[in-house]
């Protein structure tokens, strides 16, 4: 009897399926552990956006292609971005380079960095540094006639639950015949801070903004159920219960019909 039972348990097909499921679970666990280690590495220390080979992390967007942009380490931690567009850019084309990062430990982050760029307002040539996360965007424009002067950017933000990350971009625009541009970046990093940011600093609480946008049931903006329809159909409140009870009854009747 017990031998029969044992034989049943050891059927090759079943054994294979059990082994496959166990292997699948192991794969899931390993995938999670490997992802966790990468994530912890990113959240435990400040993230230097210019360390290593920046070209491995920075991407182009808009009209620029990767071979039109050069990243050059010029010493003292300064990275120079040279753009040489094959087709001249114009001011309505939004192009630049960006670095996207996930910030998955809840709390406040500080982005700090310095940049300068060749700009000339009279010719419509400009550049700006942007920090964006979810629906929020913080930007600092490079100022003209300040050659050699670094623009400091220091901003605190708390990412939203539904979009825990940030994108740092350096955006360029130019006149109709403008083909080249230059920007310098240094000391660019994102740091997770303990507690709240200083009250006088630039700060954006995207977590709270999202909660305010969605979290108050009485606020009707962009809601799922428009209030005007609700008012018109207010008399139908109890119809739902009647409908559900009717459906349950139909299920019972149909069950008997199939007897």
């Amino acid at each position: 009897m017990s031998g029969d039972r044992q034989r049943r348990w050891l059927e090759p097909t079943q054994a294979c399926i059990v082994i496959a499921i166990v292997t699948a679970v192991i794969i899931c666990v390993l995938s999670n552990l490997s992802d966790r280690s990468r994530r912890e590495l990113a959240s435990s220390s400040p993230i230097d956006l210019l360390s290593g080979n920046p070209a491995d992390h920075w991407a182009v967007f808009g009209a620029l292609t990767p071979d039109e942009v050069r990243f050059k380490q010029t010493g003292d931690g300064v990275v120079q971005i040279d753009t040489l567009a094959k087709t001249p850019s114009s001011s309505d084309v939004s192009s630049g380079v960006s670095y996207t990062i996930g910030l998955f430990s809840p709390g406040w982050y500080e982005f700090s960095g310095e940049f300068q760029a060749e700009v000339d307002d009279s010719k419509g040539i400009g550049a700006q540094l942007e920090v964006h996360s979810g629906r929020w965007r913080f930007l600092v424009k490079a100022r003209p006639k300040k050659e050699g002067r670094w623009e400091k950017v220091d901003v605190f933000f708390r990412p939203a639950y539904s979009d825990p990350g940030a994108e740092i971009s350096c955006r360029f625009w130019g006149g109709a015949a403008d083909q080249s541009g230059k920007a310098l970046l240094r000391n660019m990093r994102i740091t997770r801070i303990a507690g709240d940011p200083p009250p006088t600093a630039d700060q954006f609480d995207l977590e709270k903004t999202e909660e305010a946008r969605l979290g108050t049931p009485e606020r009707l903006r962009n809601g799922s159920i428009p209030p005007r329809h609700r008012t018109r159909l207010a008399g139908l409140h109890n119809l739902g219960i009647v409908l559900v009870l009717s459906l349950v009854m139909i299920v019972g009747v149909c069950w008997r019909l199939l007897d």
Partner: protein, 462 residues
């Protein structure tokens, strides 16, 4: 084979699941809705019912609010789809080989892989739908009428979840299931009871249809109410919600970036990247919303074969597959708003099942010569597009020569040759396109080489 498919599916779906470490495409919307549910906030408007978003919310609450956690539940659903497809194909064709081929085809298509690796809703409804079809075929092949009732209830629960996940597309599945159930009940009623037969058939058909529709509606209401409990004010809200969904969809324009007409989907004319990053080191990372071109193009002859076989053999399996495929395409004809290629997935699923059946027939010598040639044609097309006219043409000619030699000398092997070469090519093309589905860095040249269609108009792989 089912064991191997589980392991391979898990590995493909969970490998570097957390990458990209940011919301991709519609993940932002789904995550906002999932977070609303988790925090008890007002759910933002969505034209699709909330079951898949609740699943993502469950995933986030179990595994954490980071990309791996967002996507884990869908990856599990995508993994489950492979063994479910194996079991369904085994039921449909009563063949382990057809089942193994069907599981392989699902594993080798990028659209299913991409959908399984993102926190969006497509893989959820496809897997639930496949589960419902599996139970449906258990019902069809069950000779004991009393236990069929339980299968009807199980199928209805799954169909209810399907309807609670995706609007419009899911109703096709319910109609399809109702059709199969009615045909089965009429066919299964004993002829000798001729006097009472009509009465019995009517009773069973009404009972089965009533049971299915009622349970589907109950599940749908249950899911909807549990999601919208924060703002729920009774039945009026249910009407208002559906009123809004219909009106918003009617008001949407016919054109939108990356949208494509439904008739272009089977031809794989306009896939597009869900996410793309042109890194300054010269590499491209992309998540491509497109499938394995060989499989997509082979689905067309496979469905033609299914239609012919369904008509000639009066086979319910082939008719079911052809009808399911066409139903999921025809439903788009009256819809005027913009639509995207990923809406082809439910039809593609039927197409891949039909393809598995056709390849199995080839292997066992049950396919005719025109069927062999119909299945070889997409291989030749892929060779020419992938390798160019010279090399692709040479290899295509070689395949045709070998086939011709087999036809003349050893007819028993011609079908086996077609099946083998098709599956080998499917695997090769899958491996070739895999980096574009899982965001592995590719050189710019490698990326451009994979863009087989570069037209200025609709026929563009971008």
């Amino acid at each position: 084979m089912i064991s191997a498919s589980i392991v391979i599916a898990t590995a493909l779906r969970f490998w570097r699941l957390g990458s990209p470490a940011e919301p991709v495409y519609d993940e932002t919307k789904v995550l906002t809705q999932a977070q609303s549910y988790l925090h008890g906030w007002r759910p933002p408007y969505s034209s699709h019912p909330p079951a898949a978003k609740m699943l993502v919310a469950l995933s986030v609450s179990l595994f954490g609010n980071y990309p791996w956690g967002w996507r884990a539940a869908n990856a599990l659903m995508g993994t489950a789809l492979v063994p479910i497809t194996y079991l369904l194909a085994r039921r449909l064709f009563r063949s382990r080989l057809a089942a193994s081929i069907a599981a392989t085809l699902i594993l080798c298509d990028g659209m299913f892989l991409v959908a399984s690796r993102l926190a969006m809703i497509n893989i959820v409804y496809i897997t639930i739908g496949a589960g419902a079809y599996l139970v449906l075929w258990c019902f069809v092949q069950n000779p004991v009428f009393r236990t069929q009732r339980i299968q009807l209830v199980a199928m209805s629960l799954l169909l209810g979840l399907y309807v609670s996940t995706k609007a419009a597309i899911s109703e096709v599945a319910v109609l399809l299931a109702l059709g199969v159930v009615v045909v089965t009940l009429i066919g299964a009623t004993p002829m000798r009871l001729s006097a009472m037969r009509t009465n019995l058939i009517s009773r069973r058909v009404i009972g089965a249809c009533g049971l299915i529709v009622s349970i589907v509606l109950l599940v749908y209401f249950g899911v909807l109410i549990s999601y919208y409990w924060v703002v729920w004010h009774g039945f009026g809200d249910l009407v208002a919600y559906h009123h809004r969904v219909i009106h918003q969809n009617l008001e949407l324009p016919p054109d939108f970036p990356n949208a494509s007409p439904f008739w272009s989907w089977p031809l794989l004319l306009h896939p597009y990247p869900y996410w793309k990053r042109d890194l300054l080191n010269g590499t491209v990372q992309v998540i491509w919303c497109g499938g394995n071109p060989l499989l997509w193009w082979a689905v067309l002859p496979a469905i033609f074969i299914a239609s012919v076989r369904g008509y000639a053999q009066k086979s319910m399996t082939w008719v079911f597959l052809a009808a399911g495929y066409f139903a999921y395409l025809v439903m788009w004809i009256p819809i005027q708003r913009y639509v995207f290629i990923y809406s082809y997935i439910p039809g593609l699923y039927f197409g891949l099942l039909a393809l598995a059946g056709a390849l199995e027939e080839c292997w066992h010598g049950g396919a005719r010569r025109w069927e062999h040639l119909a299945l070889l044609t997409p291989i030749l097309l892929c060779l020419v597009l992938g390798l160019g006219f010279v090399w692709g043409g040479l290899i295509a000619c070689s395949i045709l020569v070998v086939y011709a030699v087999l036809v003349r000398q050893s007819a028993a092997y011609e079908g086996k040759f077609v099946s083998s070469i098709f599956l080998a090519m499917t695997l090769l093309i899958f491996v070739y396109f895999l980096p574009m589905w899982i965001a592995t860095p590719l050189s710019q040249t490698g990326y451009k080489a994979r863009m087989w269609l570069n037209g200025p108009g609709l026929a563009s792989w971008q």
